[in-house]
């Protein structure tokens, strides 16, 4: 079980020597308790204590890397069931499948999409992570040929899906040196698959629809020296995946079942609900999600969901404060003030752009808090507004002195007028009404 800071503190030397880089032993204990540092930073612990604290504070789920080169990624090293408890660290890789029975041009189209298609959102390029080769022909040579063909044109992380070790061997002959995930070993192939994983140093997925069987397979692999493992709970429905993946994650993070401390693979293809399965995999702990060819509308939504879920929940997403022209405004255009919480900003921006009314969006720094929270927490005050007016040189950017503030900031209107000398008008509370408001109620 995880330990509390004071329990850890009791085991530390309490010398406040600062050798760990923290000002006090208690500060170090608090970092340890939250899993943010490694116990080895303290040089003065005996072996037994080091082991005890390490076991209680190190990541309960193994970090497993897939792929080589620029687009390689790693999954695992998670600590919690719910992101609000801390954060999720390593987002799942989305691997789009190709089957070796498909026509070459279809395979090539998918390969090109995965290689080249990206969406840009909030400073990040989002893309599907790699290719999953599925052996459907049952023919090792044909499978190897397809892998070889793709391998020649793209260096992408890969999953090799074949139950037959011979087909695996044929594929790995082409891509084995680039750290693909071998998917998947089951009871009667575990030995052969382990040999392949050892030969190429790749990660290996084990598959079973039963947790005890999964654990047994993990044990067999470990006995053969294979530690880079992933778990495929072989779900036949969405609910199967949900129940099994949650159970695996729970036992791992509670540190009650170290044999389940590995990332999960979710093969969504057999479950014929691509959007729902992809979303569920992202939400419920998959490390690798094998998907069928999804339309760009789906991948865009899925990648956005992944970006959302893997955002640190304790960090408010912020927009840079400043003056943003919308729809090419002139000096007489209205100035709409709001906070730098990105949710607020983008929502408002959406409506303003849709309304097509030229205006200025005037974003003040509330440390990423929403209007309501910022007003309540004292982060949105007349001084903040006055300072922002100065910083953005607002007085010289527009030829009027009228500021429209959000409906929820109405209590501040008097104070803002006093502090800035600007005339304050209270806008609507609901961003959806801003277009209407500006069309009917705004006269500069």
């Amino acid at each position: 079980m995880a330990m509390k800071a004071l329990d850890i503190y009791k085991l530390l030397p309490k010398t406040n020597c600062k050798k760990c880089g923290f000002p006090t032993c208690l500060a170090f204990a608090m970092k340890l308790a939250s899993g943010k540092v490694d116990v080895d930073l303290c040089p003065d612990l005996d072996e037994q204590t080091r082991e005890l604290l390490g076991g209680a504070t190190r990541p309960p789920i193994r970090l497993v890397g897939i792929g080589a080169g620029e687009r390689s990624f790693a999954v695992g090293e998670e600590f919690v069931l719910y992101r609000h408890e801390r954060t999720f660290y390593h987002q799942p890789g989305l691997m789009m499948q190709v089957a070796d029975t498909w026509p070459g041009e279809r395979i090539e189209r998918i390969m090109t999409r995965v290689r080249d298609e990206t969406f840009h959102r909030v400073g990040e390029d989002l893309s599907v992570d790699g290719i999953a080769f599925r052996c459907e022909s049952g023919d090792a040579d044909q499978f190897g040929g397809v892998v070889g063909m793709v391998e020649a044109c793209a260096s992408l992380p890969e999953v090799v899906i074949a139950d037959d070790p011979e087909a695996q061997a044929a594929a790995l002959a082409h891509c084995g040196n680039f750290q693909p995930l071998i998917h998947a070993a089951c009871a009667d192939t575990v030995e052969a698959m382990c040999d392949l994983a050892r030969k190429y140093g790749c990660a290996l997925a084990v598959r079973a629809g039963d947790l005890e069987e999964l654990k047994r397979l993990v044990g067999l692999c470990r006995d053969r020296g294979i530690e880079n493992l992933m778990l495929d709970p072989a779900p036949a429905t969405l609910r199967d995946f949900l129940v099994r993946s949650v159970e695996i994650r729970r036992r791992a993070v509670e540190r009650t079942d170290p044999d389940l401390g590995y990332p999960v693979v979710f093969d969504t293809v057999p479950i014929d609900l691509p959007d729902a399965a992809t979303a569920l995999g992202i939400l419920k702990y998959a490390g690798v999600i094998i998907i069928d060819e999804l339309a760009p509308s789906s991948t865009m939504a899925a990648l956005t969901l992944r970006q959302n879920i893997y955002t640190d929940p304790q960090k408010p997403i912020q927009v840079t404060p400043g003056l943003y022209p919308v729809n090419a405004p002139t000096g007489s255009a209205p100035v709409l003030m709001t906070v730098n919480f990105s949710l607020t900003y983008f929502t408002l921006l959406g409506y303003l752009e849709a309304a097509g009314i030229p205006c200025y969006l005037f974003i003040v720094d509330t440390e990423g808090m929403s209007v309501l929270t910022a007003v309540a927490g004292g982060k949105l005050t007349e001084t903040v507004v006055a300072d922002a007016i100065k910083k953005t040189d607002l007085e010289n950017r527009v030829d009027h002195r009228i500021l429209i503030i959000p409906g929820y900031a109405a209590p501040l209107s008097g104070k803002i007028e006093e502090e800035t000398g600007w005339e304050v008008r209270v806008g609507p509370r609901d961003a959806a009404e801003i277009g209407e408001y500006l069309e009917t109620g705004w006269e500069a």
Binding site: D210, K284, P313, E436
Partner: protein, 325 residues
Amino acid sequence: MSEEHNPEQGNRILEVSLGATTAEGGTRERVYTVGGAGTFPFLGAGPAAGHPPRIALEICDDTRTWSPIVLREVGDLAGDTGAWAAAAETTFGADMVRLFFTSTRQRGFDDFASLGTTMEEVIGATKYPLIVEGSTEPGIDSEVYRRIGEAAEGERILLGTAEADRYRSVAASALAYGHALVAQTPIDINLAKQLNILLHETGLPPERIVIDPYTGTLGYGFEYSYSVMERIRSVALQGDADLARPMISSAIDSLNVKEVREADPETADEVAIRWEFYAAFSALVAGAEIVCVRHPGTVALLREALPALQEGSHPQEEAYGDESA
């Protein structure tokens, strides 16, 4: 083993009944109970699984701020609130209609009589329970909620929206005319709890409250809402009675985000549906009992996915779930 798999522990989400049949004094052919679960969504078996979640299609009485993509899709229905509502149930397959009285959000609104008329029209056109959203302006709240509540008296609608600084009008209407209400707070578990306490102190029975923790749009703060829903469900199952209420989720601005607005007209519907679907589906997984969307296509997609999440979707799940108990 923690509490979710342990129904014996007994903490359940409170059940909220929506809609009233003729026998109960209303006119609904179907009524729903939402809530009741003793686990995180879709994990429980038997009674702990609670009641199935419901999908609502949002419509409005004044389409000026409504998404053009939806308006294109529904065509003439947009001009006839009653017909739109009827189509939501029959053509689009929604479990319920969520009617927004967007007319009340225009400045200087004073046509209070129209509210009762529209309300009656929609009641007449529909057979399932209704969610109805009134004004957001404290100055007219009292009159708006009285009119709506009165027109729907006996139907046990879900009336929205109560907020921390303007809950009395909605609560008064719900109390007077026998409705349930939506208690909305801005993405914060503490604020959600506070509003429930305040409502409790007005005398409104807890089994008539549905929590709306406010849902940010996919890509624009959705993750906050997702986590707040998970937190609310989590503390509810740990025994926090103030939060052991069903939740409603609606990523209201989904169809106004850049990605949807700027989508190629050819694929705009697809993009709109996916943008709504990923948020609504995730909300279900996080604990929402009612999810609301605006594009009819999203209703269909959700309809398709829901059964695969629910109990009995797989013959082996009992054995699997119990194995570690």
